[in-house]
Structures are given as structure tokens and as C-alpha cells.
Symmetry: C2
Subunit: 341 residues, 2 copies
């Protein structure tokens, strides 16, 4: 029953298939009377155009793909909301592709586009390994790819992007800790390969340096971007012989693990140890204590990145590729206090 083609409709309405096509896609090009006849035939047959044929014929899908590290990451709820709003506005449907962290290569990305499966791609995940792909990436530069949230790796630097200033934000978080009187400040970063958390580490180091505070060996530890990883990292920190009084976590997910582990060690937050996060996911305000963190304008990023992509798709390479920096904000809750000693 699904499989009536345009021919059947044309036969029933007693017009050519061209007219059926026009009635659907450019109704202003046919007379009212014809349109009605066709409409009738469509209703009778239950016809719906074969999208596969349309896509093929038109050479486009009106679909964009957003690539993100993992479904289930609460940070992306708001980003997607923004993307979706903009997409609806522009007549695109959006489809999500999940990639295990750092698994997609630039070539694979390119292949998706080249093979026409989608009209454009929004990258919300980092792409690697880079290196051998650099040269091919160069030829990809015209492709409609836009990067959101992530820090762009060198070989993708020519693609447009929209994100906060991660270095500055991390610096601000660290400075806040310093302003509260902390001197022994540790950091849990994501993973070596994550440029984004690398930037946050850079900001932390810059702030520490500027305040002339030393960073002891073992104070900067990898949290693997997961709760489990952060818990392990925190355990190490808590048993460090020069135990820090504050911990800056490169994201809230890890901060949640950190919070739990500090308390498990019999210490209290923020009295004994202050914790600060990054992202302001929705769980951050209901942790115990509520988490002080950096908030990103996630929905706005989503919207902007989608509009940016549309411009790329429409205008090709003519559009600017300067990164768009959106403002972050320090959200003060209760997980940071002045140090006891």
C-alpha cells in the first residue's frame, strides 16, 4: 500500500507526472482546478513522494547531521534545543550521530558529506586523529561543516565555529578560587586528547602562574571525562601529602564524581575542600552542596551554530570562518568557600 508512484497519481488525475510534481512543489504554477484534481488523486492513492528519489534527483536531503560524543550527556540537551529551533526555522530536519569520544576522523566526516548523505554537519565532538588527514582536510575546507562548543584542532581551524573562550573561563573559575583565599588548588582535566579540556587546563595554569601559586606534582590529574575517572582522580588528590584545599574540575560530570568522593573520604564540601565545575548542566544545582560552576549559553550556541551552517550551505565558501565567541558566566552556588587554614 505505501508504494504508489507519481505515475499512478498522474493517471488517476489525468495529467502528466510533471504536473503532479508541480502541484506538490510549486502549486502556484498550476491552476486551482488542476491542483484540486491532483490533490484528490493523492488522497485516493495515499501517495507520498519517494524521498529517496527526491533526494537523489535534487542532490540534497534537507537534513543536517549533528555529531556528538554521546547521547546521554546532559550538556547537549540545551544545545540541541537551540539547533532544533534554528533548523525548524530554516526547513531542515536534524539527525544525530553519536561518536565514541574522539573516534571520528576528518576523512570520515568528509566522506559523509561527499557521499551526500546530509547537507551539512555540526560537530559537537572533537575529531581525531589529525595528522595524515591534514592534507585531505584541506580539500574539505569548502565543505559545509561548522563546529560548536569544541575547541578546534589545528587542521579544522578554517571551519567556522562558535564556542565560549574556554581558556578565559577556566581562568575565571580558578581566579574565583584564588579570590576566596585558596592557594593549594588542584585540577581534574578530561583526557589528553581532548583539546577542550586542554584549554581549560591552560586557563587554570595561567591563573595559577599569574597569582604566583605553585602547582604541586600530582595536582593536575586526568578524570577521563567520566564520574568513575573523576572519583579515582579525587581519591588520589585526597591522599596527596600536600592535599589541595580546592579542586577545579574541567566539567560538571567530573565535578559530581569529585564531590561524592571528597565526601566519601570523610571531608566536607566546601568546609574542607572547595569544588568548582564547568558547564552548568541541570544536575549542578541539585548536587549536595549545589555546585559553583561556569555556565555556557548552550542553547544560544546551538542556534548560532545552526544558522552559521545554513550560511555555509547557501553561500558556499564565501562566508567568513572567524570563530564566534559567546560569553560564559560564573555561577556561584555553595561548593566553594574560604579555606579553613
Amino acid at each position: 500500500m505505501p508504494n504508489v508512484s507519481i505515475k499512478e497519481v498522474a493517471r488517476l488525475a489525468d495529467v502528466s507526472i510533471a504536473t503532479v510534481s508541480r502541484s506538490i512543489n510549486n502549486p502556484e504554477q498550476v491552476t486551482e482546478k488542476t491542483r484540486l484534481k491532483v490533490q484528490d488523486a493523492i488522497a485516493k492513492t495515499g501517495y507520498s513522494p519517494n524521498k529517496l528519489a527526491q533526494n537523489f534527483r535534487r542532490g540534497r536531503t534537507n537534513m543536517v547531521m549533528v555529531v556528538l560524543p554521546s547521547v546521554g550527556d546532559p550538556f547537549f540537551t540545551a544545545v540541541m534545543k537551540g539547533i532544533r529551533a534554528a533548523a525548524r526555522n530554516k526547513g531542515y530536519s536534524v539527525v544525530i550521530e553519536e561518536t565514541q569520544l574522539n573516534t571520528l576522523t576528518a576523512d570520515e566526516i568528509g566522506a559523509m558529506l561527499v557521499s551526500n548523505q546530509t547537507d551539512g554537519i555540526i560537530l559537537l565532538a572533537s575529531v581525531s586523529p589529525f595528522g595524515t588527514e591534514i592534507s585531505s582536510a584541506k580539500s574539505h575546507r569548502q565543505l559545509p561543516i561548522v563546529i560548536g562548543c569544541e575547541t578546534i584542532s589545528p587542521e579544522l581551524a578554517d571551519f567556522p565555529s562558535v564556542h565560549i573562550d574556554n581558556i578565559a573561563a577556566a581562568k575565571e573559575a580558578t581566579n574565583y578560587l584564588i579570590s576566596q583565599g585558596h592557594k593549594r588548588i588542584a585540577m581534574i582535566y578530561g583526557q589528553e586528547s581532548s583539546l577542550l579540556t586542554k584549554d581549560r587546563e591552560l586557563g587554570y595554569r595561567a591563573a595559577m602562574k599569574q597569582a604566583k601559586l605553585p602547582i604541586a606534582d600530582g595536582w593536575v590529574v586526568e578524570g577521563e571525562l567520566t564520574i568513575a575517572g573523576a572519583r579515582k582522580a579525587t581519591r588520589n588528590l585526597m591522599s596527596h601529602n600536600d592535599r589541595p584545599t580546592a579542586i577545579f574540575c574541567a566539567n560538571d560530570e567530573m565535578a559530581i564524581g569529585c564531590l561524592h568522593e571528597v565526601k566519601s573520604a570523610g571531608l566536607s564540601v566546601p568546609e574542607d575542600v572547595s569544588v568548582i565545575g564547568f558547564d552548568d548542566i541541570r544536575y549542578a544545582e541539585v548536587t549536595d552542596p549545589p555546585l559553583t560552576t561556569i555556565s555556557q549559553p548552550a542553547e544560544e550556541i546551538g542556534e548560532r551554530v545552526m544558522y552559521r551552517l545554513c550560511r555555509r550551505i547557501d553561500a558556499g565558501n564565501g562566508t567568513s570562518s572567524a570563530p564566534e565567541i559567546v560569553p560564559h558566566k560564573l555561577v556561584i552556588r555553595q561548593s566553594v568557600a574560604k579555606p579553613a587554614n
Copy 2:
């Protein structure tokens, strides 16, 4: 540069386009020598088949779509892992479609399939409104749709599904509270339109009835499936003149909000109020106190649902559509204790 077609490759390799096609898709049908020639030409041109044309010609995409309520819901991380594992195994790529809770109608689902955009659909979100679509849904019954996690609404009852027994699980959760000595047990359910949380409510009511425990007016309250909604619901519960000593939340997301709000009211968990959740999302073990909850075998559900879908796609309607029930498990942590009084 992306746009060489099969013709160009054929010209370069000095063979017909049929041979090029065969070299790629059925290499065993061509001689080694031809294959090499073609391979060479492909390398030279950077040719990659136009997927749009392939999909159209083949009448299929080798893509399945999973429909879920929202990216950013941590419950789906594991489900997707299972789906992806099975999909890889079967040669499908998977694409995710987000739907605001309860926004997709059966007709829209059908349209996706009928228009060939995808070979099959996994529904992890409920579909509504049902009613007018029932009849058309009947004609959809042959479509490759499989439902996971969700409780199926009447008009979708003929589609295969895999999920836990939500009623039994909710009963078990409630009975656990009862076994600890609780008599005044409240419940925060999801939303009226969510069949899944409706089932959980049914289980709760059954357990209460069986234990001959009364449910006071205002003890069963809507949490909107969100943290904010659950907080509001909890506030009402905490100011109820017959305050419950335990709260069963229809999912962990709401339990997290509930936990926070109980503590905000100056009460402690579990000493004053016990809280039990549902789903065992990854945050459940790091809440304060760690959350006692019902765990679902999410990854297994994902795998099974994908394999089930494959059978549907391959065998058409010949496959059974009996629901597959997978086992749940009560995970006891620290958010439940015996009541004080």
C-alpha cells in the same frame, strides 16, 4: 572535486560502468586484473559512490533511526551502546531522532518509513496522540518498527517490543519500602500522558493495596519527568499535613530533584524521609545519599531491540510480535531506611 561519477571511473579504467559497480559491490564477479584496474581509477579520481543514487536505486538506506525523547537523558547512554553494538554487527548505521516528549504521532512515524528515509525505526519514546491514527496504524503494522523500554500504547500493541515489567518492578520498589516498615508512602509519577510512568504508578498502587495501606489525597503527585517538576512535587509532599515517610519516584531524574528538595526542607534522607528511584542512571550512585533504585538492563534492551528490528526488516511480518520482557533488579543503596516513628 568530490563529484566524479561512476562514468569517469569507467572511462579511466577502460571498462563499462557495470564493471565498476561490480568491482565495488561484488568483487568476486570480476577478474583480479579488472578489479585492480578499477581500483586504480578510483584512487586516481577520488571517486566515492553517490549514496543518494545508491539508496534510491536499491530502495534502502541501511540506516535505522532511533527515536528518543531527548538527547541528554542519561538513561539512554547504555541503551544506545547496545543498539550500536548490534547495528555494527548487522551492517546498519544508526541515526537518532529526538522528539520532544510525546510529540510524534503514529502517522509521522509511518511517514518516515513509507518515504523510505530509513529501513527501520526503534521507538524509545512514546507516541501520541493516539486515537485518530489507530486505523492508519493498523495499516502500518507491517512496518519495521520495534519499541524499546517504553510501555506500548494500545494501537501499537502489535509491534514487537522489549522492556522490563514496569508494573512488577514498581511493585517491588514499593514492597521494599513496605518491608522496611513504611506505611505512609507517596509517589511522584511522570506525567499523565506517559504510559510508562502510568505503569509504575499501577505497580505502586497494587503494592499499597495488597499491603492494605491507604494512599492519602495528595500523595500521588505529578513530577513532569523533570528535576524542577519533582522539586515542586516534593515541596507539596513535605508540607502535606500527613507527611509521607517514603517517596517512590517514577525515575531517577525526578528522584534527584526529590532528594534535593527533601534536604532543602531541613529533613534528612533517609532518616526522616526515604526516597527510592527508578532506572539506575549513572548519577544514582553518587547522589547524597546514594540512591536506592530499580535498575534496567539498558544495554541488553538496546541490543535485543536492534536484533529484533533486523528480523523485522529481513523477514517482514512473519516474525512474532510478542513483547520481550527482560529482568529488572532492585539496587539497594542508602536512600532508604526504616521510618523513625
